[in-house]
């Protein structure tokens, strides 16, 4: 048993729902008790979809157990097919139905339904949401793809690509897709199919027509792409175009497979990140310490952008998906740090507190952690929140995605000149710590909230804020303490930690003014 307060991923059948809800004319018959219908609200409330997810829940009760749950499944499947008239259905079990072993696959096979039935085996007690989405998409592709398809020769026609991976409830999938289509249009590449988002089961049958695949979200599409590679001899572009550098590589990769000229796409004049980053006012961004956590794809991309395109220092990097831990470890090694691979958000909170970053790039979980610690934050990855579905176009991919990322990451920070003013005039009453960045009231850090520390976390995680408070009482002289408070809040944590480490290393039993400035000199960069 694992003790959890919040989870980064839902169960695997929620992943299957993300695929089913993204597609058209596909229906999901889910053997599940009442209550599992909560998952509908993820789509209707968080993503604000105006349609119910295409899911029929069989809704069995305690009194049905051991009697007619199989019959309930068959009735629900028959009714769903009659009412919604789908081109295909997927069938499976949620965690509870998995235990009663009704075998939805066998049951539906015996029913001679008038449409293809794709059975799903999603082990709820071993796997999670992203794996469920990936497996579902793979099974759909495998079952429906027409294997007799012969691609006509390339001569005299544009290259054709499948775009694989976007789903419902994905982080900015809707907008990323627009950017990818733009790039492909500039390269003269035809889109054979986008899947799962917007695809019908009939569309999937034509998947073999494409010359190659573009794997936008490996967490969801990699498994299917590998099968397509084997079956149809379709190579895959696996570069995820998040960031300017990655977008350039992506364009080069696609151009090579398509035999196209990359110049028009590479010359996109709306790519502003490079100049915005070189502009002198951005100098203050240099070596800002960032902590990055998310799904593997977005976390790795964020680390590269942080290092290579904004000049940040990555002081923490991790992901919650063990399946993709290798990529994250490799990127962490390039940053000279150790990757944090965990799905325990309390461990992440502890790591953030210990790293004392100036900016957190994470999921909704890290947004809350950062809020509590008073650190600026931007969201870069699922799990998502209603705020991650903005009304405006807000991609992460392509050059426009990089523009969006520049704004999103830089805005929460205290700006260059303001940073200097804060340092120079600490005692100005309007520059109180609580005020935070003057242009961004919503992100104002609060005083370390006492209730946040008094309610001890559940897992075996010490509460760093409480520890710090204790040390400060015994270690710091009153004078040094006052001087420390003159350091702006966004670097004070780091200054304090460095000074204390320095004092410990030097064997000084007390931190006075001298120690504080000796430490400052010691850590000068």
């Amino acid at each position: 048993m694992q003790l959890a307060v919040w989870t980064y991923e839902g169960p695997p059948h929620v992943g299957a729902m993300r695929v089913a809800t993204a597609m058209e004319k596909l229906h999901y018959v889910l053997h599940a008790p009442q209550g599992d219908t909560y998952a509908d609200l993820l789509f209707t409330m968080i993503e604000r979809r105006g349609k119910r997810p295409p899911v029929t829940y069989t809704t069995f009760e305690a009194r049905d157990l051991g009697k007619d749950t199989a019959q309930i499944f068959q009735d629900a499947a028959r009714e769903a097919v009659a009412r919604f008239n789908p081109q295909a259905i997927i069938v499976g079990a949620s965690c509870t139905a998995e235990l009663i072993q009704d075998d939805p696959a066998g049951l539906s096979e015996a029913m001679n339904l008038p449409c293809p039935v794709i059975p799903l085996e999603l082990p709820s007690y071993q796997r999670k949401e992203n794996w469920g989405a990936s497996e579902t998409f793979y099974q759909i592709v495998r079952s429906l793809a027409d294997k007799t398809v012969l691609r006509e020769p390339r001569e005299g026609r544009p290259a054709r690509a499948n775009i694989l991976g976007p789903t419902a409830l994905g982080f900015r999938h809707r907008d990323d897709l627009v950017e990818i289509r733009k790039i492909l249009a500039l390269l003269g590449v035809e889109v054979n199919l986008v899947a799962p988002l917007g695809a019908t089961p009939e569309d999937i049958t034509r998947i073999g027509h494409a010359d190659f695949n573009i794997v936008l979200y490996p967490e969801i599409a990699d498994e299917a792409a590998r099968w397509l590679e084997k079956t149809f001899d379709q190579p895959a572009v696996r570069t995820v175009p998040i960031g300017v550098g990655a977008t350039r590589s992506f364009i080069a990769d696609v151009a090579e497979l398509a035999g196209a000229d990359p110049t028009p796409a590479l010359g996109d004049t709306s790519s502003r990140l490079p100049w915005w980053s070189r502009s002198v006012d951005s100098t203050y961004l240099t070596s800002k310490r960032v902590f990055i956590f998310g799904d593997a794809t977005h976390a790795v991309a964020a680390a590269r952008i942080a290092r290579e395109e904004l000049g940040f220092e990555v002081c923490g990097l991790g992901c919650y998906a063990r399946e993709f831990a290798r990529d994250v470890r490799a990127e962490a090694a390039r940053c000279g740090i150790e990757a944090l691979i965990t799905d325990d958000h309390l461990a992440v909170e502890d790591a953030i507190a210990a790293a004392a970053p100036e900016l957190v790039l994470g999921t909704q979980m890290e947004r809350h952690i950062a809020k509590r610690l008073g650190i600026p934050c931007a969201v870069i990855s699922a799990p998502v929140h209603v705020q991650d579905f903005p009304a405006r176009h807000s991609p992460q991919m392509g050059f426009e995605g990089a523009n969006v990322i520049f704004d999103t990451w830089v805005h929460p920070l205290v700006m260059g000149l303001e940073e200097h003013l804060l340092t120079m005039f600490r005692e100005d009453f309007e520059f109180s710590d609580e005020a935070g960045a003057s242009h961004h009231a919503a992100h104002s850090p609060r005083k370390a909230a006492p209730q946040a520390v008094s309610e001890a976390p559940v897992a075996d995680i010490p509460v760093p804020a409480a520890e710090m408070a204790l040390d400060a009482d015994t270690l710091w002289t009153a004078e040094a303490s006052r001087e420390l408070k003159k350091i702006p809040f966004f670097v004070r944590g780091k200054a304090k930690r460095n000074t204390e480490n320095f004092a410990a290393a030097e064997g000084r039993s007390q931190i006075d003014l001298e120690t504080l400035y000796d430490a400052k000199a010691h850590y000068a960069r």
Binding site: M1, R52, Y57
Partner: protein, 438 residues
């Protein structure tokens, strides 16, 4: 297609109910069975863990349970909630480890980390019920170790047994056996049953004190280790209409229920307070003097909202079991027309007085077959449909105005001074619909 065609066409029985108490007219109830779009009983934890400040709720379940709790909470409550999930994994199910040992380990660790916990609820879920993990046994065993510091209780919030607010019913039922017994010769005392927002609870206690009824207990108490006494001298008032099991447990301890309307709106609240006043021999003149100001305030406040709601047609989809008393309030005090009142479960005895107010044209449905019910909504086209979060936007997308039912559970809506707030919850979506020009 008229609604009646659909009624005839569906397979559900339309039954005359033999168990209806003599006070209620026997009326047909459309009983349905099929997909239900409702929360399971675990969802009650979201308000119960805030109501009982010394209690912690540990769900023994799956990743789905944990995901439900964080999704139903809407925005995650990041001030360390007093609930968590012990997520069962493959090795717990495959018998590689003993689930009871694992539970001991998790509970011991939890109690070590949270010395502030005085009552721990082990909450059963669908998977724990299906594998017959005996949480009563676990509560007993762990209780023996941790009492007196921590009392350990258990109940089931599983979706195979409980619907949404029935989770609170199950939780309170678990508290009844540990309520201290009152002395056999103790004076008559009142017990209010059902969790209310603190502000509403305080209002009721103030009014009851003014009536001279000052031995009043509340279940759940804000401190779960400070439960009120109970015994044959106890008279209880239900503050919520979804507490059938709790009522039975309470009566098992000798207490008697005071029959009244539920305290929604001026009339409901008056009826509810009057039931207590009568039982405790409060003088009619005193009752009038104490109750009149609040009732008048409620009437004045409601009169401002009545023009917006009067004549508007409303359908309730089954959700919290609050549907019947709320429908009565909206019809009687705001002049709304009831099209369909759906409820997950119709407690005929507790709701008898409420149902007396419904005319023969009001369609009452119990249980759910979601797609058929949505067909009826589309045929009826009510002015407003009360439904769960999964359905609200899709119905809005079809041009039907909706009210999220969950807000009715999470807002202070009982009593005189909340009557207009309650009406406003229904008026606002209609006003917004008229306001928007996009």
């Amino acid at each position: 297609m008229s609604a009646l065609d659909i009624l005839d066409g569906c397979a559900a029985e339309i039954a005359r109910d033999d168990q209806t108490p003599a006070t209620a007219t026997a009326r047909p109830v459309l009983r349905e069975r099929g997909q239900r779009e409702v929360f399971c009983g675990l969802t009650g934890i979201i308000w119960l863990h805030r109501k009982m400040q010394d209690a912690f709720f540990l769900v023994v379940g799956s990743r789905t349970c944990a995901h439900l709790l964080q999704s139903a909470a809407g925005v995650m409550i990041f001030a360390e909630p007093r609930f968590a999930t012990a997520i069962m994994e493959e090795r717990d199910l495959a018998g590689m480890v003993d689930a009871q040992d694992e539970l001991d380990r998790v509970v011991n660790r939890l109690l070590e980390r949270r010395p502030d916990i005085r009552t721990l609820f082990l909450v059963g879920s669908c998977p724990s019920e299906v594998i017959k993990l005996d949480l009563a046994k676990a509560a007993q065993r762990l209780g023996a170790v941790h009492m007196p510091r921590v009392r350990i209780l258990n109940y089931s919030g599983s979706g195979i047994e409980t619907t949404f607010t029935q989770g609170e019913d199950a939780c309170l039922s678990a508290l009844v056996p540990v309520m201290p017994a009152s002395a056999p010769d103790a004076a008559k005392q009142l017990l209010i049953v059902g969790s209310l927002p603190d502000i509403v609870e305080d209002q009721f206690l103030r009014i009851l004190a003014q009536l001279g009824i000052d031995k009043v207990g509340v279940l759940p108490a804000r401190n779960a280790r400070d439960l009120p006494e109970i015994g044959p001298n106890t008279r209880y008032l239900l503050a919520q209409p979804f507490l059938g099991e709790t009522a039975m447990a309470i009566e098992g301890r000798g207490a008697q229920r005071l029959d009244a309307l539920f305290p929604f709106g001026a009339e409901g609240t008056t009826s509810w307070l009057r039931a207590a006043a009568r039982e405790f021999g409060v003088d009619e003149a005193l009752f009038e003097r104490v109750v009149a100001p609040g009732r008048e305030r409620a009437r004045i406040a409601l009169s401002k909202l009545r023009p917006q709601l009067s004549g508007k047609r409303i359908t309730f989809l089954p959700d919290s079991q609050l549907e019947v008393p709320l429908a009565r309030f909206l019809q009687e005090e705001l002049g709304m027309e009831l099209v369909e009142v759906g409820t997950p479960y119709l407690h005929r005895a507790h709701l008898a007085r409420e149902l007396e107010h419904f005319g023969p044209d009001v369609r009452i449905s119990e249980g759910q077959h979601l797609d058929r019910q949505l067909d009826r909504v589309r045929a009826d086209r009510p002015d407003i449909t009360v439904c769960g979060l999964g359905l609200a936007n899709p119905l809005e997308g079809e041009g039907l105005t909706t009210k999220w039912a969950i807000e009715l559970v999470f807002s202070p809506i009982h009593g005189f001074d909340q009557a207009a707030d309650l009406a406003e919850l229904f008026a606002r979506p209609l006003r917004r619909r008229d306001l928007l020009e996009v």
